[in-house]
């Protein structure tokens, strides 16, 4: 008979292979659902394998906890698609909570007989875990709008934050050298928890895609550190995959906003420039009615729709899908241009449009869209602002100068659906609105798109 340890190790080995395949299959929408399947099987194998561990003396609480976790997990898996960013932030908090609790239990089981290396890794695990718990809860609160989205800053903030982190690290170093100073351990974890809160306070809603990705990376790294502590290769692999994914997404997001990590974490974006706004007030804008917009759209061959987070806020994606249908039936080529930071987390806009049944091969990323825009008849901007701001290309004094944007101003006609002329999230004036080829469509996104659709179906007979 095969000993239990071999069974466990074999299930872990298979789980690792399935996890890597799971991410590999996610590379294309055609195979992506196999990826979920592979991940589920790997997870189930690993959990069942672990239950064979002969050191386990009591199954009752394991069973209760597994059932309770599943009960909490089901509603968390069934939130609305607009709520996915806060759900994701919450799950980072849960993941980090698990890692931090296990690390804490291991500390009290082993200390003071704990090797220096082990103590270093364990400290890394619980500091990263601790700041991820509270940081993610803060991020979830801001995304859910329970907490103010506005960045909150005060003098000496960075100094206070870095000082706190430095104290936590200093305690960690002290514990590595003197593991019997066990009373310091809760202080270290406590500081990490407070640091997580302080770290997110100065970060505004528009920076959430970067922050969520960064917290994802931390959650992964702390899990990998836990793998070192428990000497579990399975955990090291899963943690480093998660860490790598979070890191890649953070880099993507930072690049898409032309900012560095440090700038996101210490920059407190969003309240810099109100001085610019006064100088441009006198400029003229041209506006159009739904009828005029419908006429222009029906005369076009190629239309690019540029959705932003405002479209999701107005719940306009289903109306946009109707517009897509009407135009496509009339033989108009309609594509969607998705900026990497459209939405509140990486890829969020794609999910919202897919939910509205818009085929994914019509969703273009920024580079592909920018290749198309100069040959496009109409660019229709719905609820997006800063990601279309040509000042990012042309005006070195603009706070978003250098940020990659969707070059909608290169389309023959630009139409922007917007509630009013008030500046966008970051408070930056958008010169796009004053261009000669720009028409402003003032109104609520959902209603305006609906009026355009009605014009098009009414005028087009069987349409």
């Amino acid at each position: 008979m095969i000993p239990a340890t071999h069974i466990i190790e074999l299930t872990y080995l298979i789980a690792v292979v399935l996890f890597v395949l799971s991410l590999k299959w996610l590379s294309s929408p055609a195979t992506a659902r196999h990826g979920v399947w592979a991940g589920e099987v790997g997870m189930l194998l690993a959990i069942v394998g672990t239950l064979f561990y002969r050191g386990i003396v009591d199954y009752k609480w394991i069973a209760i906890a597994l059932v309770l976790g599943a009960i909490i997990g089901v509603p968390l898996g069934n939130v609305q698609m607009t709520a996915v960013p806060q759900r994701t932030a919450l799950s980072h908090a849960f993941g980090a909570l698990c890692v931090t609790l296990v690390g804490t239990a291991e500390f009290y089981l082993r200390a003071p007989n704990i090797s220096r290396f082990m103590m270093s890794i364990l400290s890394l695990e619980v500091i990263l875990g601790g700041l991820t718990i509270t940081g993610s809860l803060m991020a979830a609160g801001k995304l859910q709008e329970i907490l103010p989205q506005r960045p909150i800053t005060y003098k000496g903030q960075n100094f206070v934050n870095l000082g706190m982190l430095a104290i936590a690290v200093a305690i960690a170093v002290y514990l590595v050298l003197n593991p019997d100073a066990m009373h310091l351990y809760p202080i270290m974890v406590g500081i990490a928890l407070v640091f997580g809160v302080m770290m997110i306070i100065p970060i505004g809603g528009a920076d959430m895609p970067t922050v969520i990705s960064l917290l994802n990376s931390y959650a992964g790294l702390s899990a990998a550190a836990m793998g070192f502590v428990l000497n579990s290769k399975l955990l090291i692999v899963a943690g480093s995959l998660d860490g790598a994914s979070g890191f890649i997404l953070s880099v993507n997001m930072s690049k898409a906003m032309n900012r560095s990590f440090t700038n996101v974490l210490f920059g407190a974006f969003g309240q810099v420039q109100h001085a610019v706004a006064g100088a441009v007030e006198a400029r003229n804008v041209r506006s159009a009615t739904p009828e005029e917009a419908a006429q222009i759209l029906s005369a076009a061959n190629k239309v690019a729709i540029i959705p932003g987070y405002g479209m999701a806020v107005a719940q306009a994606q289903h109306k946009v899908r109707e517009l897509y249908d009407v135009l496509t039936k009339r033989g108009v080529d309609v594509k969607f241009g998705i900026h990497p930071v459209a939405g509140r987390m990486p890829g969020h806009m794609n999910v919202l449009l897919a939910e509205a049944d818009i085929p994914y091969d019509k969703l273009l990323d920024m580079d592909d869209m920018n290749g198309d825009l100069p040959q496009t008849d109409v660019a229709l901007v719905i609820g997006a602002n800063d990601v279309t701001n040509p000042a990012a290309r042309t005006d070195p004094s603009s706070p978003i100068y250098g940020m990659p944007i969707l070059d909608v101003d290169k389309a023959r006609t630009v139409m922007v659906i917007k509630r009013s002329m008030s500046p966008g999230f970051a408070g930056i004036d958008n010169p796009l609105y004053y261009l000669d080829n720009t028409l402003m469509l003032f109104g609520d996104a959902k209603q305006f798109v609906n009026s355009i659709v009605r014009e098009l179906t009414g005028a087009g007979g069987h349409g």
Binding site: A15, V20, L26, S27, P29, R33, G35, V36, G39, E40, M43, I47, T50, G55, I56, V57, I62, A65, G69, A70, I72, G73, V74, G77, N78, R87, F94, G95, C98, V99, L101, V102, A105, E106, N216, G220, A223, A224, G227, F228, L230, N231, S232, L234, I236, G239, S240, L241, D242, S245, G246, L249, N252, M345, G347, N350, V351, P359, Y360, D365
Partner: protein, 99 residues
Amino acid sequence: MVTVDLYNSLYVFILAAFIGFEVIRKVSPLLHTPLMSLTNALDAIAVVGAIILAGEHKSTLAAVLGTIAIVAATSNIVGGFIITDRMLKMFKSSRTQKP
């Protein structure tokens, strides 16, 4: 013994990180949200450490912390897989879609 384990772990970590970077770089930006929810679910494999803690019952503290940790991780596993699958189900190509 400890150093052997350490080097084994470091090899695994570094190789896994390389695989992670290579595989995840190829994930289409279309699917970055499902990517994050999926890696989050996979990361909850930390549940195996929590199960051992809760099951071994070496101390009351360890058992209690382990039990809470199982709840947290399991909710991530269940919720993460459900929402990832729900999202991926919605992605349809225009070629396979009926007009």
